[in-house]
Symmetry: C2
């Protein structure tokens, strides 16, 4: 795992931190891993800041879940109000789930007019897979080579970024992700589509067939690839020619983070068949879902009984509705565009005098800075990226790394991030680069 | 689906209800189904009552999720306080997840000393399957013939109650559930174990092997089977003889509902290898998890990276901690034992003059009343059960039905259910039986 704490190294940590880690390791399964060489102990959050029990403030430039800011009072109030009034499931009639579904689907193209709500992005991906596979009558799914789509059995079988310990499914095919730092922008889209076609051919050669092409529309875990706009079109066309569906994983880019559009697919001018939503949807309250074409949902419902006990509960919907209100009222998508552009320009300035920061890319407040040991050969340098992440942490600035080689910084703050906050990051980055 | 509304029959409904159903059908996927011939429109909940927008009060004798009562003020307060303070994930250190994990695991046998937290029971079952299958190195799972274990791809493949439209997995074997109404109590446990052994033999005959025996320890969807105490022991021994694990699905019986013990497996004096928890855990706040033996978690972590973004977040843990406090302070397990016994006695009295209510069974506040067309032949009568459910709904008492034939009433109220509430149910039941 990128940026993982080695639990053998407790000795140099503050006593309170080490003591809590020891308690954690006794009662939580060993899969629980901490970030950083020096893990961050948190007690409080507000806006784009997190605070330790000692009052130390950390600038959050990493967390996309609290998209409208940590502990936003309007979300807290909406949840408190609804929790004190009614929290039940969708086999009774309640206003809240319908109000939210109407508001949410209004943000999509007309063809994607219905939603099914779950609690996590993993559940949303898993449901989208069930719908697509049932519709096509085939199990094949094509994903990128460092994709991450979730932790259910089915989602993990098509999440190669989880590593060799998690076997890919028999009918899963991986293809190289687009790489705007190394590929020719003129041909990148066609190359990606050619990989899709090759995977389709390979599935067919094995007597299988593709149900879907599934990718994150900003390729987060493949290192963040956003441009050129429209480059995903040929790949989407290729899966449709073969009779398969295109499932957009919007768990990362969704809800305005890219600044350019509410959804990553919309930036590129394509319409998916199914869209999986997650992380930022409820600002931390567990809610996720699948938006899609009614014909697909109708067919699935005819064949299959599906009910998600907590999915669409009024409290989660109240949180999610407040998020939509805040995104609109505080113009956070617009802010993401402005501040993101400012931050990328600042990072590019820094890169001029630090040539091993070889590429700055992204859109809005989803930014990657890629480190290389040789700027000409573009050789990935994960160790350097890791040192920068930990140097920033020592300066109380939280980010992480991403990509197949783990050599790209992942810069992805809560959306109320201002140019002042960007300056704090840029100052910290300058010092971190000097020290790393 | 049992007790489902037929969406073609809108005309006889109140205008506001019909209007909301029409809006719902436009924006929610067709899988969303409502209960009852006359769906219930809800606006508010408190304790064991739910209220419509018109103020009409419904006695809730069905919902197990709000286990400490609808909108319990201590849960609302705990969530409000934590949401305004910090909500983040487990890759940072926070107190709340450790505090909760310590409190939760203290309620288990010493061998089951660790937990991994998820958001839903489906995710918990799916994770338990991943751990078991990875440990054993085999895919086989044995479940009961009308089992329900969740809606992820992997969970649905071993949930035969979802119907023929959801194919069982290749290595899933179903066995007849125990049936305390028809089986000889002296041999029921051995018969159940013999079915387990036969399924193991069949898996082996197909070149496969059993990873686990998985069942709900009160067999909720098989019609609720709780007695005789200890009858599951031979089946658990059978899977272990074959080298497989026993996974207890405690999503339904867990957290004291049976009155006799905190967990269904504990009633029977067995120790599972893994335990899946869900629904009542956070009183409606999405939280679930797997409790198990540390050696299993250690092995899984060595092989597999697993992280659940919302799993173990401080807000969900605060809700779950409040639930444990309330269960203890309000002595709700003890209440379940007392009121459950009172209710079963009252139902048995009613059955004396209504012999088609052929069996009353269960423990604590998990009770089934089984309807038959012929009390001697014990022929299931689902239509009668359905009429009773709808007659009760007309009297504003909410229950549902269960079992392979759908002929058993499922009586499963929030735990602060008093003898006065039981009297309301019994009066309503008497009238419903007369009218059905």
């Amino acid at each position: 795992m990128i940026n993982a704490f080695d639990s053998g190294k407790l000795d140099h940590l503050p006593d309170a931190t080490a003591a809590l880690i020891r308690r954690r390791e006794r009662v939580l399964g060993a899969s629980y891993r901490l970030f950083y060489d020096d893990p961050v102990y948190l007690d409080r959050g507000e806006g784009v800041f997190l605070y330790g029990p000692d009052g130390a403030a950390y600038l959050d430039v990493y967390n996309n879940v609290p998209c409208v800011g940590h502990c936003h009072p309007r979300v807290v109030e909406a949840v408190t109000r609804q929790m004190g009034r009614l929290n039940t499931h969708t086999r009774y009639l309640t206003d809240m789930v319908v109000d939210y579904a109407e508001r949410l689907t209004a943000l999509f193209p007309a063809s994607l007019s219905q939603v099914m709500l779950t609690c996590t992005g993993s559940e949303a991906i898993d449901l989208a897979l069930r719908i697509a596979r049932s519709h096509i009558g085939a199990m094949g799914v094509i994903v990128t080579e460092n994709a991450y789509h979730g932790v259910t059995t089915a989602a993990s079988e098509l999440s190669p970024s989880l590593g060799d310990g998690v076997p890919l499914g028999v009918h899963i095919r991986t293809i190289p992700a687009p790489d705007s730092f190394r590929d020719d922008p003129e041909t990148m889209g066609e190359t990606f589509a050619a990989h899709v076609r090759a995977a389709i051919a390979d599935l067919k050669r094995h007597g299988a067939a593709p149900a879907a092409l599934l990718f994150d529309t900003v390729f987060s875990s493949d290192g963040v690839v956003t441009d050129p706009i429209g480059f995903i079109k040929p790949a989407v066309a290729a899966i449709r020619e073969a009779g398969g569906l295109f499932i957009a994983d919007e768990v990362q880019p969704g809800f305005g983070r890219t600044g350019t559009a509410m959804w990553g697919f919309a930036r590129h001018g394509v319409e998916p068949d199914l869209v999986a939503l997650g992380k930022p949807m409820g600002n931390g309250t567990p809610i996720a879902g699948v938006v899609g074409r009614p014909a697909l949902f109708d067919e699935f419902a005819r064949r299959t009984r599906y009910f998600n006990t907590f999915g669409g509960n009024p409290v989660s919907c109240a949180a999610a509705l407040a998020v939509l209100d805040i995104l609109r009222d505080e113009k956070l998508m617009e802010n993401a565009a402005t501040v993101g552009a400012y931050m990328r320009a600042g990072l590019r300035d820094l890169a001029k005098s630090f040539e091993r920061m070889g590429d700055i890319r992204g859109d809005g407040l989803f930014i990657a800075a890629e480190f290389v040991s040789d700027p000409v050969a573009k050789t990935p340098d994960a160790a350097l990226a890791g040192r920068v992440v930990n140097e920033l942490r020592q300066r109380r600035i939280l980010i992480s790394a991403s990509g197949k080689a783990g050599n790209s910084l992942k810069i992805r703050p809560p959306l109320p991030f201002s140019t002042e906050h960007a300056d704090m990051l840029l100052d910290g980055m300058k010092a971190a680069l000097a020290a790393a």
